[in-house]
Amino acid sequence: MKYVAPSSVEEAASLLSSSPSAQVFAGATDVVPQIRAGRPAPDVLVDLKKIKELVALNSDGEKWTVGAATPTAYLTEDEAFSHEFPGLSEAAGLIGSDQIQNRSSLGGNLCNASPAADSVPAMVVNEVRAVVAGPNGTRVLDVSEVVTGPGQTALDDDEFIVEFEIDKMPSRSGDAYLRMIPRTEMDIAVVGAGARVTLADDGSIEQAVLALGAVAPTVVRIPDAEQALVGSTADEETLNAVAAAASEACDPIDDKRGTVEYRKQVAGVLAKRAVVIAIERAEQRNGKN
């Protein structure tokens, strides 16, 4: 196995297209355990962290740009980012330990394509876009389009994510992400639920996006819950409809972390709670900040 650390996106793209079994990596927090568990090691490992724009977190006032290999710790440490996107920041802060968060990245969390990846529901509800580089330049995909199944992505073998674009949080909007695990830290989601809402001037919900992780082969949106919320004030009856729609949207597996029945039940509870938190945050962002 050969290690290479290109210094530009173009160099990385040409390395990938010239060696068929080359694989990109950022923090290697999934790659190393997978190789140790017996997955064949690639001939060439392409380290993306020496490419400047891949390790960067910036806002131009209209949108945030997060380099695909940026340690997730940056997303919890940056006060402006975590103030604007507390849900996405908290999701990043749930991935493993401090040791892991100093290495793990949004690009890796997404492209590892685990159904339980914590950052993905939080990115989906914020309608984050992925800028993908390949031999013929770049293309832009919605994060919700990237993962096609467990361990499977829509990226070609010679493509990789350069950065994520996140439009600035509008006023009277807020996001939230909640995760259920049987312990406090360091576990894989049994269920994850992300929510983002925008409130109208009269306090009713103008827009809502909800997404669940770890309950289906990929992260799933909950259109029925979103429709129930729009125009409402998220009263008890609406929230119960949200919970029911969330449970209904699940297609989970039975495993040691939870049964199908348990995951469906918890998905409903978490979706409801995430909506409530997102609304509280939206009320606090009254246009002044």
């Binding site: 290697a28 490992l45 401090d98 040791q99 892991i100 360091m186």
Partner: protein, 158 residues
């Protein structure tokens, strides 16, 4: 197998070593540099026994490929003591019996140092979260938490 030449600063000293690309930084530190303080527990980033500081951030050395260390500044547990005098964390672990078998201790010390470097007065909850990536099968954690609290107090001059 061709070996790659790595230049780094380890515990304050410019250090060069040769390594195979597939070698973990942990194995390079232990076998090529001769620093055996960092330990391999799980080898998959779960247990934290191999924790070291890389450019001031705590990392699992087992999850890093050795060539990634080129150009970085590394601190291992061997770099904690100053001219033979133990670091307050080491002294407090010793006095508070915050270790039994000792395999996890170098990792706990480095994770605790990373915490105290950026937060000199952490709450117990903050300490527990900062050490969540380090596993100890002997102590039950309580004495480790107390030792970190005591070291933090000493380092603040209280």
């Amino acid at each position: 197998m061709p070996r790659t030449h790595i230049t780094t600063v380890i515990n304050g000293d410019e250090t060069e070593f040769l390594t195979e690309d597939s070698t973990s930084l942990l194995n390079a530190l232990r076998d090529d540099v001769g620093l055996t303080g960092a330990k391999e527990g799980c080898g998959t980033g779960d247990c934290g026994a191999c924790s070291i500081l890389v450019d001031d951030r705590v990392n699992c050395a087992c999850l890093m490929f050795a060539p990634e260390a080129d150009g970085t500044v590394i601190v291992t547990v061997e770099g904690l003591a100053d001219s033979g005098e133990l670091h307050p964390l080491q002294q407090c672990f010793l006095e508070g019996a915050a270790l039994q078998c000792g395999i996890c201790t170098p990792g706990f010390l480095m994770a605790a140092k990373a915490l105290l470097d950026k937060n000199p007065d952490p709450t117990e909850t903050e300490i527990r979260y900062a050490l969540a990536g380090n596993l100890c099968r002997c102590t039950g954690y309580d004495k480790i938490i107390r030792a970190v609290q005591e070291a933090a107090r000493e380092m603040r001059g209280q």
